[in-house]
């Protein structure tokens, strides 16, 4: 289960992003990108992300963001940071620890 709240340019994610909730995660990001060039994904209370969620972040960077748009990943927990390192997410996004 996941709860995502968009405020200004920040998307706060609470709960788990997996194949059951990945679409909500993607929709929240796309909604912010309609009006903001710099968005922050607040992962402070994100408990979990699976390869589906990681795939959304990869696709966002590779195929959706334009040169003027940026996404910052804010304070992912240690276990999630480990997955970001294994999959190369940490190489393509700025991560605020």
């Amino acid at each position: 289960m996941v709860e995502i709240t968009n405020t200004d340019n920040i998307s706060k994610i609470v709960g788990e992003v997996d194949i059951a909730t990945a679409k909500a995660f993607e929709n929240a990001i796309m909604e912010l990108l309609e009006t903001e060039d710099l968005i922050v994904l607040d992962m402070t209370d994100m408990e979990y992300i699976d390869s589906t969620g990681i795939g959304i972040l990869m696709n966002l960077k590779k195929n959706i963001l334009n040169d003027n748009q940026n996404v910052v990943l804010y304070r992912p927990k240690r276990s999630i940071l480990k997955l970001f390192q294994l999959t190369g997410i940490d190489q393509i996004y700025k991560i605020e620890k």
Partner: protein
């Protein structure tokens, strides 16, 4: 029962789940794996790794295995020296030897089996076209000094 009082089970605990082919129910498997891993005195990082590995195996069963079946099975066994997780679907099966390692930083998908391999000690896949797929995930139980430990 306490974490270490496994005498009546001869050091072997087994949990079996039959899960519907519905993504929301994967969290049930994750929770069960957390309880099992905690009972084996694994640390927080190891428990998180197991949750990820199991979830990826379940997601694969739903996405690639269960197009032709309504349920899949998860069996978790705590036995001497290891936690063994087996995920079985009775779907269409696939040629797993064709699944290539993802190119890190390039691909946008295909990380599931790679993450399981990266986080666990061993991964076995047995898939037969028309019969289904069985994935076995092995997590060795180690003492804090790095030596393997028994659940007894």
């Amino acid at each position: 029962m306490s974490k270490t009082d496994l005498k009546n089970l001869d050091g072997h605990i087994k949990v079996e789940l039959v899960l519907p082919n519905i993504p929301e129910y994967i969290s049930l498997a994750r929770y069960s794996a957390s309880v099992m891993a905690n009972s084996a005195n694994l640390n927080i990082d190891e428990i998180e790794d197991i949750r990820v590995a199991l979830s990826e195996a379940c997601a694969n069963a739903i996405q690639y295995g269960c197009e032709t079946c309504d349920y899949y099975e998860v069996v978790m066994e705590l036995q001497e020296g290891e936690l063994l997780i087996t995920v079985t679907d009775h779907g269409q099966g696939y040629d797993y030897k064709q699944v290539k390692e993802p190119v890190i930083g390039e691909q946008v998908g295909g990380f599931g089996l790679y993450l399981i391999r990266s986080l666990m000690d061993n991964l076995e896949i047995d898939s037969n076209i028309g019969e289904g797929t069985t994935v076995k995930i092995h997590k060795l139980l180690r003492e804090s000094n790095g030596t393997e430990k028994s659940t007894k």
